[in-house]
Every structure is written in C-alpha cells, then in structure tokens.
C-alpha cells in the first residue's frame, strides 16, 4: 500500500462575503514532494494555504494531512493541531520576542522547558548560519534576516508539510537568492513535503517537483516544471510560466506557442529585428516575421542591430489546441 499523501485537497471552495476565492480546487502532494503554487496575485494562493493551515473555514470540500481529515464536513482541526509549518510573506515575526525566543516558541508549545527549547532553537539558527542574530528583535533585523528567522521557526515545528506563502515577495534579488539556497539545502535533509506559493515563474520552476497553476481560484494545470513549461494548457498558463510568443505555424496548422529558446537566428525564415535587450548571459531579440512577432533568445551580447534583416529557424513549438481561446 502506498503511503498516504502528505496533503490531499478535494473540491475545496472558499468565499469571502459571497465572492468566491477558491472554486473546486483538488490536488495532492506526496510525502517529501515540493509543490509550487504559481499564480498572479489574487489568484487564491494564500487562500489555499490558509485553508490547509486551518486559518479559515472553507465553504465546501475537504483537506487531509497525512491521511487524516482536518477539514471536511463539520470537522475543523485547529491550526495548532495540524502537522504544518508556515512561512509568511510578511515574515510575521513577533515584535516582542528575540530571534532565539521566536524559534524556541514551537518547542515551548510542545512542552519543552525553556532551556531545552532555547538550545534546540540555537541549533537551528546555527544550521541556518544566523546564530549571531539570536538576541535581536525583528525591528533590528533586515528583511532577509527576518525571513530566515521565519524559516527557522517553521523548521522548529518539525512538521511533515511546510507551507510557504510567497516568502521571497518582499526580498530583493540578492537576499532572495540566499534564502532560496538555504531553502533548497534544508529541503534535502528534512525530507518533508512543501507547498510553495509564488508568482515568480523561475522560482516555481527551479524549486518544485511539480507546479500547480492557479488563476481566479481555479487550478489550470498541475505537472512537472518541464510539463507546465513546455506543454501549457493554454496561453494564460503559458504566460504564467515564462515569456512566450504566439505565431502561425509555418506549416499552416494554426497558432503555436514558441518559447524564446525554441527558435534561433540564422536560417531559412525571414525576420526584421524590432528590439534588442542585452540580458547579461544572453540577449533577447524581438523579431517581426511574416508569421507574427517572435521573441528569440541567443547566448552572448547582441549581434544584430535594430532594423537588421535576419534569418531564423523554428526548433520547437507547442500547438495551442482546442483549449486555447
């Protein structure tokens, strides 16, 4: 018998003041799996996480954690008795507690004595290489430091499912990288499952085992990062996971989706360069072709000026089928 999934959500419906926020969402997260929830703001990512954590009561549907129903019917298990750890978008650090006491908090709630909880907390801070921050309060911490304390607090809970609610949304690029590296490292040795909400496609694709695309409270698609990137169910899903152009298929088979790397400059087809962006490791060209506008990515610095006439080759495309609009 396969082990129970870490999380199983069935037909979840949530409404605020009659406005639906989640409409019949169902998904499963296997033990140890990382699922990214990718969607624009307002798509229902936070709402889904809050329903799983027990912060709100869904109007319909059920939530099972590790095989145990925690939401469903008249049964609502309160957050503290759910086996989850939560990392918040705005860090949610308690202003009156030091980093050490914040991280010791979950152990204290488990019944550990103050000394033991603190030494456990110190160990976690050391593992995250922020032991030097132990005595500081949130007001004395930078955003990245605060979020690492937030992560440490979730780790201290030792749950079998982590819930990340856009943890990097308020962090700048460099700090975000440090935080994600840390997260990646922790992921390996914790073995716990995680649901990671984000609106950043790169983050979702790079971090997750599977990606769930969410829009206006509905799941559009669930699949491996490669699947959702290469085989989006529709144009909206495609745009969520990264830049994409839509052109007429050269063989006349209707519109097709082309990712920037799926075409290269040089080749039989004709185009005119309309714009060029230097991106560091690569350059992006916006090419006007008879089939439509196309975004092409080439390694290295720009090689063609705006207005140049270039040839191009289509390497790969994905047909926008009947499901597209």
């Amino acid at each position: 018998m396969p082990p129970d999934p870490a999380l199983e959500v069935v037909d979840l419906e949530v409404a605020y003041d009659g406005t639906p926020a989640l409409r019949g969402v169902s998904l499963t997260v296997a033990p140890g799996e990382v699922l990214a929830l990718l969607g624009p703001s307002g798509s229902g990512k936070s709402t889904l996480l809050h329903a799983v954590a027990g912060f709100l009561v869904p109007s319909a549907g059920s939530v099972r954690l590790g095989g145990t129903e925690v939401t469903g019917g008249r049964r609502i298990v309160p957050p503290e008795r759910r086996d989850v750890g939560v990392v918040f978008q705005n860090y949610a650090l308690w202003p009156h507690l030091s980093a050490l006491d914040t991280v010791a908090y979950p152990a204290r709630r488990r019944g550990a004595g103050r000394t033991q909880a603190r030494s456990e907390a110190r160990a976690i801070l050391e593992r995250l290489r922020i032991a030097s921050l132990a005595d500081r309060r949130p007001a004395e911490l930078s955003g990245g430091e605060q979020q690492r304390v937030g992560l440490a607090r979730a780790l201290a809970r030792r749950p079998s499912l982590y819930l990340f609610d856009e943890p990097t949304a308020h962090l700048d690029t460099h700090v975000r990288g440090v935080f994600l590296d840390e997260l990646w490292a922790r992921r390996r040795d914790s073995g716990a499952a995680a649901v990671y909400a984000t609106h950043d496609a790169e983050e979702a694709l790079g971090l997750a085992d599977r990606v769930a695309l969410l829009s206006e409270g509905r799941l559009l698609q669930v699949g491996t990062p490669q699947q959702v990137y290469a085989e989006p169910v529709d144009l909206f899903a495609a745009r969520l996971t990264g830049p994409a152009s839509v052109i007429d298929a050269p063989d006349g088979g209707g519109p097709v989706l082309v990712r920037p790397g799926w075409a290269c400059l040089g080749g039989p087809l004709e185009a005119e360069v309309r714009a060029v962006w230097f991106r560091g490791p690569h350059s992006d060209y916006l090419a006007e072709t008879p089939l439509g506008q196309l975004l092409v990515r080439e390694p290295g610095p720009p090689r063609h000026p705006v207005g140049a006439r270039v040839g191009w080759t289509l390497l790969q495309s994905w047909p926008l089928g009947a499901s597209s609009t």
Partner: protein
C-alpha cells in the same frame, strides 16, 4: 528633508501657534488657579492634612484604581470578542457597546438608581434591590460600565494597528492553542494600548463628578470632586473656596504625574505603520457555539448595565409621580412638558450651534496637535491637553472665569473656550491614533506628485482619516451638547445653553423631570449619533473582512 519628518504643514510657526493656544486654554487658567492659592495664602498643609480631605483623596485614588482594574478586562474582552468576524450580529454589537458613551454620565447614574435601587424597577417587579448601589460599590460599578467602552475603543484601535492576524496565525501554526496565542502574542502586542487605556480611565475617574455625586454622596462616600462641590456649596466662605481650588490643583498634579510618564513611555510603542484602514480580524476560526455564547454574554451584559436602566429611566419619565405604580394609568407627558418649553427651543439652537463649532474647531486643533506630536517636543503638548480632562468642570470653569471673565464673562465665547479646553484631549487622542496609522509614504507621494502640504493632506490623508475625524467630531459634538456643569457656571444673559435652561426651570433632584430631561438628551444625542455613525460607515473604505494575510486582492 531630515528623515522622520513628516512633510506636512509649516514648521516653527505652527508649533508656536499651537503653543500659544495651549497656553491660553490650559496653562494660563491653571496657573491663575495656582496664583489664587498662593497669593491668598491658602493653608495648603492644613487643607491636605485634614481628615475629611485625606479620606476623600484616598477614596478617589482607590476608586480610580479599582475602576481601572475592572474596566480593563471588560474593555479588552469586548475588543477581543468583537474582532471575530464570525461573531453573530457583530456590526450591531460594535455600535451597542459604545452606547454608554452616548449617555451623559449623570443620566447613567440616575438610570441605575431607577433600575436597581430601593423602590426602583427591580424592587417594584421582583422585590429585589441592591442596597449597595448607593455607596462605594455602586459608584464603582457604574463607573466601570461607563469606562469600559473607552477601553474597548482604545484597545480595538491598538489591536487593529499592532496585532496583525499573521502574527497570531504564526503562533497557531507554531503549535499554540487559541488561549496560548492570546496570552503570548495578542495581549502582549496590545499591551501598550491596554496600558494607555488604563491611564486614560484612571485619570478620567479621578476627575469624574456626576456618578459619585448621584450614587456616592447620599451614602456619605466622598471623593475629591464631590468634596470640591460641597466646599463651593456652603456659604461663600473664602477658606472653603481656597480648599476647593487647592483640591482641584491636587487632581491636576496627580493626573500630570500619571499622564506624563505614561505618554513618554507608551507613546512611541503605540506607533505603527499599518494602513489606516487595517482592521483587526481574528487569526483562525473558532467554534460556533463559543461565538454564540460570546454574543449571548454581550447581550446579557448590555441588557443589565444599559438597557434595563434606560428602560427604567424611560418609565420614570412618563410616570406622573414618585411612589405611584408605573402602570399605564399613571402615565403622562407632564414631565416632558415641563422640560420642553418655548425657551428650550431657542437654547437648543444655541447649544447645537455651540456644539458644532466646538466639535469642528476641536477636530482641526486635535489634528494639528497630532501632526505636531510626530515631531520632537510635540509630546509635551499632548500631555498638557490631557490635564484639562481631569479638572472638574466646575473648577475649569472657575479657572477660565478668573483668567478671562474680565472680558468675556457671560458670553458664549467663554463657554466655547471651556469646551475646547475640556474636550481637546478627546479629539486629539482619537485623531492621533488614526494619523499614526497613515503611512508617511502616501503623503510623500502626494508631495512628490506636486501637491502642496495642505493639498497633500486634503487629497491623500483626509479620506483614510475620515472615519477617525468624524468619530472625534461626534464625541465632541455629543459631549458639548449635553454639557451641564461648565455652562451652568459660565452662561449669562443670552448665552443660556439647553442644559442650563432645562436645569434652571426645575431644581435638579426631582426625578420625573430629570428623567424626562435625560430621555430628551439621550434622544437628542442618540439620533444624530446614529445618523453620523451611518455616514461614517459609508465613508469608511470597504473592508475585505477576513482576507488572509492582510493581502490586497488586486483585480
């Protein structure tokens, strides 16, 4: 621009103008009182050492402490219960718990005697009465009922500003049950607000007069304020007048000793940069039966403390005479007729005008002080305004008469000055709370967008501040409308206020007309209050109640 400076208004000019106004309204009159004690050689040691005064001072301090200790849990509990979005009838309760604010406190005191004292309503119907009502216990309980809504208001604002739902969610998700999360996070975060509310209640109770006079004096329970009143009542003896002034100054000193350190300590901690429309919501759903029990508890509390007394008061106002059964056969509107004379109409117009001017000026002044307060040195002014709160109305009126009576005696302007001095702190404190929650970036953005300082405030700050401004306006308007003590001392020919006319036509003390007056005042106050409340509700930005994480759902 140096960091931390809010880009609002002029600089030193405004500060100086405020300082002058404060000096004129508060400092100078209080100093004039001090000069009276000094130059007329009051025997301060003798006065403060006399057994009667010592008893009154001890009673006052113990009473204020006891009221504070009891009002805090009630107010905090109310605030915690009312932030649950799933509380049945929440919108109704949010208004209902504030009703005691609308009832003039002497009305509240009278209504309790009508309900629970001997020969009161419960005695007539059930044969039950509470003998302790007339005495320290009764004074204490009614003051607690009167003060609890203030605690609720202050703490609710504090909770909304500081206890972000995510902080409690984080506690719950870290394994804390609802009670533990409440203790370790919510209450810890609300602590500065709770402390501020405690200071406010303590200081207000020091200076409260009507309820101790109605319920305590008959039982020989003296407080400093009733003692001041008794001193002034007996025969124009200069020594007694000096004793009254000395006692009033003592109250000011005690209040200053409480308020100044509290403001210095708590002020910075009450700051927050949450959006002005942030609303305190609960972190996690609770059990339905618990909510129902909480709603029932609220209903029971309000029924016993407010609804029954007010109903008993209404009954007294329509009952022809004391001692006859309050049955329909004995009902009549005689008491209302004696209260509502043609002269009342004229005075009503004057009172409404005065209340409107007072409230409007106070909102402007309160806002200015709140803005100044954000700068260095402003905190002193905020503390100063609080001092007049504690001065008994009679004494403040005497102080203003001594300071300005030479030129303004008997004019409406003097009454207006008295109202401004007395109510400034109310307006200021509620506006300051809201202003603190206005993100400075919004004003900076307006300035960067080409708006002058005033335009910036008008276009950007006014809208989110509107509920707080209207709320402050309302409290000032209502209080000024039913103010009795100061206007009855300051009025002159052609400046009689409504309360003066009504009280002069009958000696206060006859229950029928007093009850009728109270009912009229209550309606006069409650009707505009409810209308304005509705307007405030309309103006308040529509809140997406229960949205997780305080996240805005962009379209």
């Amino acid at each position: 621009m140096p960091p931390g400076t809010a880009p609002i208004g002029g600089r030193a000019g405004a500060t100086v103008a405020m300082g002058v106004l404060l000096a004129a309204l508060v400092v100078f009159p209080v100093l004039r009182l001090g000069a009276v004690v000094w130059t007329e050689g009051a025997d301060v040691a003798g006065i403060l050492g006399s057994p009667g005064v010592l008893t009154a001072v001890r009673n006052t301090v113990v009473l204020a402490a006891a009221v504070t200790v009891a009002a805090l849990p009630i107010g905090v509990g109310t605030a915690l219960v009312l932030r649950r979005p799933d509380l049945p009838g929440r919108a109704f309760w949010q208004i209902a718990v504030l009703l005691p604010v609308l009832v003039p406190d002497f009305v509240l005191g009278y209504s309790w005697t009508q309900a629970y004292a001997r020969a009161g309503f419960t005695d007539a119907v059930l044969g039950l009465h509470w003998a302790g009502l007339l005495g320290p216990a009764g004074v204490w309980l009614v003051l607690v009922v009167n003060a609890a809504p203030l605690v609720y208001l202050v703490v609710a604002v504090g909770l909304a500003a500081r206890a972000e739902p995510d902080l409690e969610r984080a506690a719950r998700a870290s394994g804390a049950g609802s009670a533990t999360a409440l203790l370790t996070v919510t209450l810890r975060l609300a602590l500065p607000a709770v402390a501020a509310a405690g200071v406010l209640v303590f200081v207000l109770t020091l200076g409260t007069f009507a309820i101790p006079q109605v319920l305590g004096a008959p039982a020989g329970f003296d407080t400093v304020t009733t003692r001041i009143y008794a001193d002034l009542s007996l025969g124009g003896d200069p020594a007694l007048f000096l004793e009254a002034v000395t006692l009033a100054l003592l109250l000011v000193l005690v209040a200053a000793a409480c308020v100044a350190p509290a403001d210095a300590l708590l002020g910075p901690r009450l700051r927050s940069t949450r959006p002005a429309d942030a609303q305190g919501t609960a972190a996690a759903p609770g059990r339905r039966d618990v909510r129902r029990a909480q709603a029932l508890g609220l209903a029971g509390y309000l029924a016993l403390t407010l609804a029954l007394p007010l109903a008993a008061l209404l009954l007294s106002s329509v009952t022809r005479a004391l001692g006859v059964p309050p049955t329909p056969g004995n009902w009549g509107l005689d008491h209302f007729r004696s209260v509502l004379t043609p002269r009342t109409g004229e005075a009503l117009g004057r009172s409404v005008g005065l209340a409107v001017v007072t409230a409007t000026l106070l909102v402007v002044l309160g806002g200015l002080v709140a803005v100044l307060e954000r700068r260095r040195g402003g905190r002193t002014t905020a503390t100063l305004v609080t001092l007049t709160l504690v001065l008994p109305g009679t004494t403040l009126a005497v102080a203003l008469l001594i300071a300005y009576g030479r030129w303004l005696s008997g004019t409406l302007i003097l009454i207006l000055l008295a109202y401004l001095a007395k109510l400034w702190a109310f307006a200021h404190r509620s506006i300051a709370g809201a202003l603190d929650r206005l993100p400075p970036d919004e004003l900076r953005a307006a300035r960067a967008g080409g708006a002058g300082p005033i335009t910036a405030v008008r276009t950007v700050a006014l809208r989110p501040l509107a509920p707080a401004l209207l709320g402050a306006w309302l409290v000032c308007f209502l209080t000024a409308l039913h103010e009795v003590t100061m206007s009855s001392l300051l009025y002159g020919a052609g400046s009689e206020t409504l309360a003066v006319v009504v009280l002069n036509s009958q000696e206060l003390g006859r229950i029928g007309p007093t009850a009728a007056l109270s009912v009229v005042l209550f309606l006069l106050v409650a009707v505009p209050a409810l209308i304005l409340w509705w307007v405030i509700g309309r103006l308040a930005p529509r809140r997406a109640a229960g949205l997780p994480g305080g996240a805005t759902r962009a379209a």
